[in-house]
Amino acid sequence: MGLKHDKVVPGREDRVAACMAHGGCASGMGKQDKICLKNNERTFSQAGLCQLLPTLGMLLTLPDTAVIVHGAIGCGSTGFGMNTAIRLHHVLRGNPNAKDSLWFTTNLDESDVVHGGEQRLEETILTVAEKYRPQSIIVLQTCTPSIIGDDLVGVIEKVRPLIDIPLLYSHCEGFKTKVWATGYDVAFYAIVHGFIEKDKEGPPPKKGPRQPGERPVVNVINLASMGKPDEIEIERLLNEIGIDVVIGPNFANRETVRRMTQADLTVSVCPTHDDYLVDYLHTEYGIPFVLKDMPIGLANTRNWLLDIARHFGLEKKAEELIEREESKARQAVQRFLPALKGIKVFISAGEFRAVVTGGLFQELGMEIVGLRSYHHDEFGTEFYEQLVRAQQGKDFPVDIANFQPFELINLLQKVKPDLFCGHVYDNGWAAKLGYPTITIFRIFDHYVGYRGFYEVAKKAARNLRNPSFQKRLGENVGSAYRPEWYQQSPFAYIKTDASPAAAA
């Protein structure tokens, strides 16, 4: 099965044996039994995300689209944070008059829980189509209608002939998977089925072979969290070696998504994010892919570019570009290196982003002393080993955790890094402990490619130069955890099949 034939997107714990709870060291990653890992649980846990949230975050980026969250009122109330980011994205993309995202809740109440919500959903879709005239409508099925047995697909197929715009849908009930990254797959599913498979014009035909002299076109799968500056860097590098790009499907309209079926190669910037879509384009359209690296840090960027260039016999051009760019970037970061040399860094983010950013820090002369990944799957495995090797075998602890700040805080107090680099909503925990922080992504900044290498070095040096905001916070903020907690292993509440959690 795959994206085209799956009736419902499988949870990533089943599809790629993703693990959400593990504590160990970097050198041991990939050596555990995958099934055991995937079954690990916590006996104390803190709020995670559900798959609805990344799905919503991605689908709200589609321009002029109305999202209908089918469920109780709260699932549809969470768009405001995403809305601000998405509006700024559109502004960065050259649209200063970007409108707010548009979303709805079907607002299921107690009576609907008893009587079913299908009729409400149908009315909502038809009203939204008629009144707001969006370019497409997306329906997201949440926990409540799923439990009460609403037939989402039935309603969708009933109204599809009645409206003249693409209708996308996805099952993204939070209770169905503990791996919220499944939400990426769910969003891809909605996009592909809505704009390609079930589009009124049907799927576009496969493209014929490239004509001699025709520039190759590659799909670059973007991320809702990746800013325009990074897309510009990717486009610049690929254009310089003679490759044109189509960037999507985030922020893309129907036409752009359909154009993605006509490319010569699909390139991922985050393999663990994209494999479900990449596989679809490969299976259904025969488009080969590169699903291995993320162009962050010099070595990773080099590998990423060469893998792509190799597909089109452009290695020589790529090598020339890489030499030129590396030399410029290395020269540019010289002035930051003294401040960064030997700095002990802790990284926290989605697994792939975390490990490649680790590589970048090592290239700047820094040492990784701890890493937290939101989940673990096979895409990241080999990188841990590389990171340990790159710092002469100095191992470091790894926490696989869907956030769980109690583990992070415990671990930070044990490894005491000089610098913390984290995903949105991670930096605060480190800052309140007094550690200098830099954010691992921000949509206005560069992280990718050579410009990204330079900007991250600059950002790290700048934050290390004056961390007094965090330092003062650390002196003035208390702890939410009992003192005994800091005496325990940060992984004490992880329960494996083999050994129940010590504290349980």
Partner: protein, 444 residues
Amino acid sequence: MSHIERPRYQCALGGALVTINAIERAVAIVHSAPGCAASADGAATVGAGYWGSTLTDGRATPSTNIIERQVIFGGEERLSEQIASTLDVIDADLYAVITGCMTDIIGDDVRAVVSEFQKQGKPVIVAETGGFKGDSNLGADFIWDAIVTQYLTPGLPKDNRRVNLFGFVPAQDVFWRGNLLELKRLLGRLGITANTFLTPFDDLKDLKDAGRAALNVVFSDVHGVKPAAVFEETHGTPFVSEPLPIGPTATEAFLRRIAARLEIDPARLDEVLAEEKAYYYGFLTPLTDLYTDQDFQRFGVVIGNVNYSYAVTRFIADDLGWIPYLVAVTDLLTDEQRASVVARFEEIPEILRPKLIFETDTDRIKERLNEELASEADPYGSPISPAYVIGSNLDRPLAAELKAGFFGISYPITNRIVTDQYYVGFRGGLRLTTDIVSALVANR
């Protein structure tokens, strides 16, 4: 019920969660699917001027994160495990179990699970707050009900100079912390100790002993009224509903009512009123040239929840001297609650009484306003020019369309950060005047 465009509130779980999050040394234990706590908290904290997270909220909120297995086999065992581990790990004095849609639908007996801990003397309370039961305001009522009946010490003697302040739903009132602190300061000047509960400076002991209060003041005609009734029944403290007092006129009226009720020395009252008014007019008076020369009187369009829509309307009518034109109340209300809001608006003199609508959807508010405008023929343009919209960030496009001034005061607010700002009282009224008029001169 029907669908809602971009709802201006979270679900019942969300309202209960943010209430607990705002209480110092209280922590929520969310018994629900993995995204519920993060989703509700995220919406509330971003929309409330980047309230952010303290130490045990946001992604640090203890949560059972139940998935399909528990939905099929029940989640009671998992809840029990999570309560025990939370007591071990989190350093708090009140643990509130709140539930989401999933656990309410599958019918976990959460009260039985919690009662096991209560029997051991653990400070654990429980409220069933499944999201489908209603919005954040209702959820706040649920958790207050639980606090009042399960946490407060019963049978305490009354202190006739002590009051509890209710009716604030954190984030739904973006300025709840500042507002509460200013109300506490004002009442304190009259010799009244006011318990606020929801600011970072409150002591949980005051909540535990809240039954000592002689009076509960509910700053809403709707929110917090039910738990106040339960409070009266359980602990014998009566309550009054008061509009949120913004500006000198409303605040003076409020303080006079409270002073009469608690038999405060009239001389002291007059002294305090005179000083506070002097502060307001001391800063306002020098603005008179600007205000009158530039003709800053406006037709007002006010959009917000029950509490703010009335309070702001009164302020612009009574103190700023504007013409309230249309007021949209965006809360989900029962017929009875609507009637109480209508009755409150009828206290506004007829010549200044605005058209009052109840509407949840931003787009429908615009439609209803346009219908209203169309009914008044004005051959030279808009009958409400010059206009000013006081609402939420969602209402900015409406203001732009009307070529009206705009200031955001109701949820969601994402274009500024909110710390200790407040709009209640004399000084809050001055702040509101400052902010509203600043928006009119912002491009100069």
